[in-house]
Symmetry: C2
Subunit: 310 residues, 2 copies
């Protein structure tokens, strides 16, 4: 099973202008920053990216700009989720055409109570329509948003039918028992499983995961990488406790607005706090409390930690 | 408050070819059939229409074909729901450009747990971007699919801010208490409230509703119209009991595949049974049971009832 990605992957925040338009220039710079920090890949256009608050055409235009700016396509795993077979196909063809290392695939998320067969048929139809041997698809299991699961059995059916295409999964269920069941079933066969939060990184790596794809990577690649690189050392549990503490501090607040506020603060760029409705930016009081909480735990966007490690 | 619609509105089923492509020719014919049967309007591209299983471009192409074929734009209330402000704006501008009587507006349905303010900002941003005095927007409250409600208070804020634009609501909550609360709060001000099922039609009309927008309109406009036209007569409760019985018979099965199977049967066109994944068509056994159930209650796509009334 071909495996283009491992390590700490970041679902990259999308910068908007104060008028609410995607800002390609700041997006390119931020993607470079994350790769420089050691991100193993950029899962652009994920949930944290407010991807579903952008039209498909806006997402494709941003990807065009990243490629034109020289961000390596092999490092990109764009989210190509859509409710329709036709739109998902369009987004995936565009990504594959640019040579992206892979794509992250949501289930069709409008209709609820669909059968497993219906979801299987949707994914199969998209793969058949794309019709490219170059496609590497990572399933995106995030039932808190979609209510439509990629359950353990369904994942197995898709791997069996498309072993060179369906090569991995991001598990954002927040349920370690589900991640463990997937790891037990498919990791030894070379299927790449990424927990959707670094809180499960060490447990994941000890059970066959290949890394994690995590929102807080936007503000803590170096810290999370330390766990990834040192998971077999005696320090592993302490390193994991450090990154878990940082994560828990951030996720006391609405996650995407909080991460954007942190980036705004540490990159000295207030416009980073802009979100698109239906998300709301943090209030002044929330912002102050978040930054105070982070200061209490000595959080500094990873530079100190990176310098200490050098 | 301008009110372009009343009566029995139908969220029109979308016919697909056996290969899964939208079939504009059969769509035009079916829309004509429904208007001939007395539909007060066609809420094309709703949940029942599998709208979210089509790309925006596919929906706009179908609307272009309806208009070109002479279906009156004033009778059309296309669903223009999308998760992004940008895509919703594109779909609405297209509908308004064609002179559609109104549009049906889903909330942004990907992200869960959004604040009421966030949803308000989304709708307001779309209205401002469309920027047309001709826009008549009907809010689409369907929490079983979206998990994002248009609650009573939020609806009031939107009416107050945009009294000539936000002119009505379809309530597909399936919760009469919610419909009643909306009717009590806003019907007397001229705000058009449509229960999302004919099971609430008579109760709705008695409390200020202006009709209903109902999936089973695809197969029972004449029956449902009888309640609409005779709700102040002594026969009203019996007529309501008749259409409720038909509805209950159909919704024992997955609703969209069941309605498509009924249309396939009565229009003698087996391809009408085609759905797009993630929906699944009824099995042969389910189809046989559904048709037998309908025969038991003497259901005949409304012709008999219509003839009897003439």
């Amino acid at each position: 099973m071909p495996q283009p990605f491992a390590g700490v992957l970041v679902p990259v925040l999308t910068p908007f202008t104060p008028a609410g338009e995607p800002d390609a220039g700041r997006f390119v710079s931020f993607c470079r920053f994350l790769l420089d920090q050691g991100a193993g890949g950029l899962a652009i256009f994920g949930t944290t990216s407010e991807a579903n608050s952008m039209a498909g055409s806006e997402r494709m235009a941003l990807l065009d700009r990243l490629i034109a700016a020289g961000i390596p396509a092999a490092k990109l795993m764009p989210g190509t989720g859509a409710c329709s077979i036709t739109e998902a196909t369009t987004l995936i063809r565009h990504a594959v055409g640019h040579g992206c290392g892979g794509v992250l695939m949501l289930p069709p998320f409008y209709y609820k109570g669909m059968t497993e067969q219906g979801v299987y048929d949707f994914v199969a139809a998209v793969i058949e329509r794309v019709g490219s041997a170059a496609l590497r698809m990572y399933l995106y299991h995030i039932p808190p948003q979609t209510m439509i699961p990629f359950g353990v059995e369904l994942v197995g059916r898709l791997i069996k039918a498309y072993p060179d295409t369906v090569v991995g999964l991001k598990d954002s269920s927040g349920d370690w028992n589900n991640t463990k069941a997937l790891l037990d079933a498919y990791a030894s066969g070379g299927f790449a499983i990424f927990p959707g939060s670094e809180t499960f990184l060490l447990d994941g790596l000890r059970n066959g995961a290949v890394g994690c794809i995590t929102a807080s990577g936007n503000v803590n690649v170096p810290g999370i990488r330390e766990v990834y690189e040192n998971w077999q050392t005696p320090q592993a549990d302490q390193l994991q406790a450090d990154i878990t503490r940082a994560r828990m501090t951030i996720q006391k607040y609405p996650m995407v607005p909080a991460l954007k506020r942190i980036v705004a603060h540490f990159h000295h760029d207030p416009d980073w706090a802009v979100v698109r409705p239906p998300m709301e930016r943090l209030s002044e009081a929330q912002s102050a409390a978040l930054l105070a909480d982070l200061e209490k735990i000595g959080f500094t966007l990873g530079e100190c930690r990176r310098e200490a490690a050098e």
